[in-house]
């Protein structure tokens, strides 16, 4: 019987221009056998959600270093709900203060990875928590 191939969108919402982390994580997912739709820098939440729906991904991984996480990330979750696509798991990684994590999780982020997390841990989390 045919098997589902995991598909993940990796992108960077907002205006920060540092995509090294996103690329490293995208590469780790590739090496773990996932199909990674890499949308790159400077994405609006609208663009991210629309791309995720067209690509029928299982999850969205957002990298954010700008400090705008409390604005942009909940917006992604809200838009997914609006489009009845909140079955798509959203997680993020980046420079995010501990104090902000509970709020983000309340807003719909399934997990928040902070600096120092290994790519193995992120891949393992996705494999354990995202399925179809």
């Amino acid at each position: 019987m045919a098997e589902r191939k995991l598909r993940i969108l990796v992108g960077k919402p907002g205006l920060d221009g540092h995509d090294r982390g996103a690329k490293v994580v995208a590469r780790a997912f590739r090496d773990a056998g996932l199909e990674v739709i890499y949308t790159g820098l400077h994405q609006t939440p609208e663009q991210i959600v629309s791309a995720a729906i067209q690509e029928d991904v299982d999850c969205i991984g957002l990298s954010i270093l700008s400090g705008a996480h409390n604005t942009l990330l909940p917006r992604v979750c809200d838009l997914l709900k609006e489009k009845k696509a909140d079955d798509i798991t959203v997680f993020c990684g980046g420079v995010i203060p501990e104090d902000d994590i509970p709020g983000l999780k309340l807003a719909g982020l399934k997990e928040v990875f902070t600096p120092g997390t290994s790519t193995e841990d992120i891949v393992a989390w996705v494999k354990a928590n995202v399925g179809c």
């Binding site: 045919a2 098997e3 589902r4 990674v36 949308t39 609208e46 067209q54 029928d56 009845k84």
Partner: protein, 320 residues
């Protein structure tokens, strides 16, 4: 409600899911595709191919913008390679097309090759059909970066564009067989770079060398700078000329007959193989054959003949 009906009702998620079912080889997808097939055949399909880094994605983005300005709906199938080692893929063509992400008149789907070698994935034709049934006026297929002979695109697209860039080789490259024979339009992209004129000239010379019958389509060599949008209007106008030529001369009928014949043959090959091979695996005959080949008791030529004539190797051991 079946996915096909939801797609006809304009539901984006249903279309996206069916594309995935197709790509993942779900047998349920066949039923949906059967329903959609009568509604296909309306989109004009443009194939964009060329070496990696030639600017195919950026060109696709610009062409899409030009068609959107004409009010046409555009579907894009963008293909990138699958790792032969891990099965994973980075699908990065969208990066160049993000400005169309929240335009409802554009649907972009990234596909991984998943082991197919002809420049497109096995699912490409079906995904194009889904976009066609969704009502896209134009479907652009962007192949993986290709070398010299990955030319499956030519059977799939009404208009095939081969994108070249300056500095990839001399005029001997231009007379070799393969990818350069399939273009309806040549694009020399990054035309601001040194050597662009020379590349364009060499392609033109290659085209002039060939003998052409009266009324045959003569591919043009166009220069573009996709990143700045230079030359795009002329290119899109050339697509229109090619389309008009195909329709006016009736060559379209020959193209479609060949395409349909290829589509059918490919599907038959795939299904027949899966069916027969699957039965051999299940009955254990495959093991017997492979083992027999190891000791040279069975040769693969006779084994295949026996399978095809419906004689089981297990029941009737070879007597030769």
């Amino acid at each position: 409600m079946a996915l096909a009906e939801r797609i006809m009702a304009g539901e984006i998620r249903a279309a996206a899911r069916l594309m995935r079912d197709v790509d993942d080889g779900f047998s349920s997808a066949l039923e949906e595709l059967k329903i959609l097939y009568p509604y296909t055949g309306n989109a004009w399909i443009i194939g964009i191919t060329g070496p990696p880094g030639a600017g195919k994605s950026t060109l696709t983005d610009q062409i899409t913008a030009a068609f959107r300005a004409q009010g046409k709906r555009v579907g894009i199938v963008a293909i990138d390679p699958t790792s032969p080692f891990t099965g994973g893929a980075i699908l990065g063509d969208r990066i160049r097309m993000n400005r169309h992400a929240d335009d409802e008149g554009v649907f972009i789907r990234s596909l991984a090759t998943r082991g197919a070698l002809g420049g497109i994935s096995r699912s490409t034709g079906d995904v194009v059909n889904i976009m066609d049934a969704m009502g896209m006026d134009i479907v652009i297929i962007e192949t993986v970066g290709v070398g010299q002979d990955e030319i499956d695109i030519v059977r799939m697209a009404h208009t095939t564009v081969v994108v070249m860039v300056p500095g990839l080789g001399d005029d001997i490259q231009a007379i070799k067989a393969g990818i350069l024979e399939i273009a309806d339009v040549f694009v020399v992209n990054k035309a601001d770079r040194d050597g662009a004129d020379r590349t364009a000239r060499e392609l033109s010379m290659m085209l002039d060398m060939g003998k052409r019958k009266d009324g045959e389509w003569l591919p043009k060599v166009m220069k573009t700078e996709a990143a700045r949008g230079v030359g795009i209007d002329d290119l899109v106008a050339e697509f229109d000329l090619h389309k008009t030529w195909l329709l006016d001369t009736g060559v379209i009928n020959r193209f479609l007959a060949e395409k349909n014949s290829t589509v059918f043959a490919d599907m038959l090959k795939e299904r027949l193989f899966a069916e027969v091979h699957g039965r051999l695996v299940q009955s254990g005959e495959l093991g017997t054959i492979v083992e027999g080949m190891g000791t040279r008791a069975v040769d693969p030529y006779s084994a295949v003949e026996k399978v095809l004539s419906g004689i089981s190797l297990v029941e009737q051991p070879q007597s030769r």
